[in-house]
């Protein structure tokens, strides 16, 4: 039984990290209806900036973590300003491809630095002894990761529910023209959405980097890995991302915990999220928490 609980706990932990990684995608989609395929690269960039500030410049890791969040905040904002502002109103395929192109450009820029090809790891700053409760164990890194995830997600939920800026962002996602007519600057909202997404990406990058070590291939793959989470959650719901993230984490852990090694199967943790996603989409085409769009001719 402890085996089962361990799987569940691992699944929840991994799932919350997925949720955090997917959060940035949700934020962007929520306000500007853009699916960002360059998210993995921003995640990687955030992690590398933190490492650079900590090791090369020598700032304490907590501050460099914050600094990297601020840097990616402005980085993502300028990306939106330079590249995506022009594409408002273009077909969805163009926007998707621009983000793919952007991802490739960032790839190129990261390959310019040693980070593109070499491996690093963050200095250990948390206790290495794990927390154990009734045979189930969880590491400090993971625990802190989960806590940061929930702080950020809680913060963003509050931000969207209560703050004026957040409410104006929701207004824009609901009806751009309506929002404009009450004096909300739509471009500013888009910029802000990207910026907050960049911020959450940096946080996700640092947490994932702490768990896997800093390897560019591993990190930027997360941009694609979290797409099932995003879709399952219904694209524009923060709560959806959290629930879907945890569901995906559980599916992955359960699949590799119980399917692998039986019936000659292996590596099912990689593919199961996609299979489950396809099945769910057939029954709920807008994900679990997505808004059913009403279309008119």
């Amino acid at each position: 039984m402890s085996y089962f609980f361990q799987i569940v706990v691992s699944g929840v932990v991994v799932g919350s990290i997925y949720a955090l990684a997917a959060l940035g995608l949700v934020l962007i989609y929520k306000s500007s209806r853009v699916a960002n395929f360059a998210h993995g690269q921003i995640i990687a960039a955030g992690a590398f900036i933190t490492y650079f500030l900590t090791i090369t410049i020598g700032i304490p890791i907590f501050f460099s973590f914050l600094a990297s969040m601020i840097i990616t905040f402005f980085l993502a904002m300028s990306v939106e300003r330079i590249f995506l502002r022009r594409l408002i109103g273009e077909p969805i395929i163009s926007v998707i491809m621009v983000t793919i192109g952007l991802g490739s450009i960032i790839d190129g820029l990261i390959y310019l630095t040693p980070f593109g090809t070499e491996n690093y790891s963050f200095p250990a700053f948390l206790p290495t002894t794990p927390l154990t409760l009734g045979g189930v164990s969880i590491s400090w890194t993971q625990l802190v990761g989960v806590i940061i995830t929930f702080i950020l997600i809680g913060g963003f939920s509050w931000f969207f529910k209560k703050s004026t800026v957040g409410i104006s962002m929701r207004a824009v996602s609901d009806d751009q023209f309506g929002a404009m007519s009450v004096g909300i600057s739509v471009p500013k909202v888009f910029g802000l959405a990207w910026a907050t997404a960049g911020l959450s990406a940096a946080a996700a990058g640092c947490i994932i980097g702490n768990i896997t070590g800093l390897n560019f291939d591993t990190l930027h793959a997360f941009g694609i890995v979290v797409f099932p989470v995003l879709i399952l959650g219904g694209l524009d719901s923060i709560l959806g991302a959290v629930v879907a993230g945890i569901i995906m984490g559980l599916i992955q852990q359960l699949a590799s915990g119980y399917l692998d090694g039986n019936w000659g199967l292996s590596g099912t943790g990689e593919v199961m999220p996609y299979i489950i996603l396809l099945i769910i989409l057939l029954f709920k085409p807008h994900g679990l928490f997505g808004i059913h769009e009403i279309e008119r001719v």
């Binding site: 250990a124 290495t128 992955q252 915990g257």
Partner: protein, 408 residues
């Protein structure tokens, strides 16, 4: 038009190419070689220093006139781990008249196998996959195959295991690269190796291996043999350390001892896993700079000469790159010494003759390089290293697999 611009760009580049190509030395000959490898894309963390090693050594050969007036011109191309691009590079090298070819990935080596046969060109890949050698006469593995390494590692486990049958698990890459050697290990067990493979785990991009490690531990596994790349191993090692399951000393009861084949180890693993890599056992056929000797001094001097950073200079992949360049240079040198023309056919013959008294000892490897009609693996010896205080240290003397001969 885009098209036109591309053409004119091609033209421009070609013109520049011809104007800037160094003028041919009138007396010496130029021996052309080609290499295609992943400098970007998957496994580029290994490919990058590897390419630097090859590049630096050939520059060294040309500058210090190792081949007299003759020069080596080695074209190095990035193929991003894509077989299609590798094939394109290979065809271009053939058009340019290379005498020997250096390849990289398992996939492209297997994919181009038939072309190598038809072209009858000797090939040195960076992939030590045993499957490269099936139905092939022209592929020379620089060192012992992954299969041989894994079997040798298994033998090491059995030899040093106290009490009963050694229970092991395999942690492998989810591809043919990972799966191939496991079959050979199973054959070795059939041939009498006193070991039990409890489970074969194929990893994904897992962020948490706790469940897997607990399952292995519950099944009584004591050793985990890894055959994959560094990143997943590092995640697993971290998880194991966190759970307190990593053995403090080799084969500690109730704990897990981790061992790995060529691409799981090296400084990259230490960089990724940090303290969690402590006590990790690793097979490698190269000298490491953490165990200084004459060979590593030369390696570091070469890196210094061409301004490489510490990370590249100390990488075993850098050594691996130097090693293949050394083997090629040696083959060319011997062909020349015998007074033969340096071409595909003679180089192939020379490679095959590299055995017995003619075995070649490069400064980068722990044993001599031997090839013959039947022996397609260069360095047969393997050194076991383990991480102690953050560096790989030698464990015992070089070993050689016994069961590999029995199962072939």
């Amino acid at each position: 038009m885009k098209n036109k611009r591309c053409l004119s760009l091609t033209g421009l580049i070609l013109i520049m190419f011809f104007t800037f190509t160094p003028s041919v030395n009138a007396e010496g000959k130029i021996h052309k070689l080609g290499m295609s490898l992943a400098i970007t894309g998957p496994t580029s963390d290994a490919g990058n220093p590897y390419s630097k090693g090859v590049e630096d050594y050939f520059r060294f050969v040309n500058e210090t006139r190792v081949l007299g007036d003759d020069k080596i011109e080695c074209m190095i191309r990035d193929d991003q781990y894509k077989t299609d691009v590798t094939k394109r590079n290979f065809e271009e090298y053939l058009d340019k008249g290379i005498v020997m070819y250096l390849n990289y990935s398992t996939g492209s080596t297997l994919g181009l196998k038939r072309d190598f046969e038809e072209e009858q060109i000797a090939v040195l890949p960076a992939s030590y996959h045993a499957g490269n050698l099936d139905d092939s006469n022209y592929i020379f593995l620089p060192v012992a195959s992954y299969s041989e390494q894994l079997v040798a590692l298994s033998e090491y486990v059995v030899k040093n295991h106290k009490g009963g049958k050694a229970k092991v698990a395999m942690f492998i890459h989810p591809s043919a690269f990972g799966r191939g050697p496991v079959e050979d290990a199973q054959k070795a067990i059939k041939a009498g190796l006193n070991m039990e493979i409890v489970e074969v785990v194929e990893h994904g991009k897992n962020l948490d291996n706790s469940a897997m490690l607990k399952r292995l531990s519950n099944k009584g596994v004591q050793y985990v043999l890894c055959h994959t790349v560094q990143s997943p191993v590092s995640t697993m090692l971290k998880d194991s350390t966190r759970l307190g399951m990593t053995a403090k000393s080799y084969g500690e009861k109730g704990k897990l001892t981790f061992l790995g084949v060529h691409y799981t180890g090296g400084n990259d693993l230490i960089a990724l896993a940090g303290d969690a890599s402590e006590g990790f056992f690793w097979t490698c056929s190269f000298n490491l700079t953490s165990e200084p000797g004459k060979g590593t001094d030369k390696q570091l001097a070469l890196a210094k000469r061409y301004g490489r950073d510490n990370k590249a200079a100390n990488s075993h992949n850098y050594a691996a790159g130097i090693m293949v360049a050394q083997v090629v240079t040696e083959a060319i040198k011997r062909t020349k010494a015998k007074g033969f023309e340096v071409n595909k056919k003679n180089l192939y013959k020379e490679m095959n003759a590299m055995n017995g008294n003619y075995a070649y000892q490069p400064y980068t490897t722990i044993g001599p390089v031997t090839y013959s009609d039947t022996d397609r693996a260069g360095v047969d010896m393997l050194q076991i290293y383990s991480v102690q205080d953050g560096t790989f240290k030698k464990v015992g003397t070089p070993i050689q697999s016994e069961y590999m001969k029995k199962i072939e």
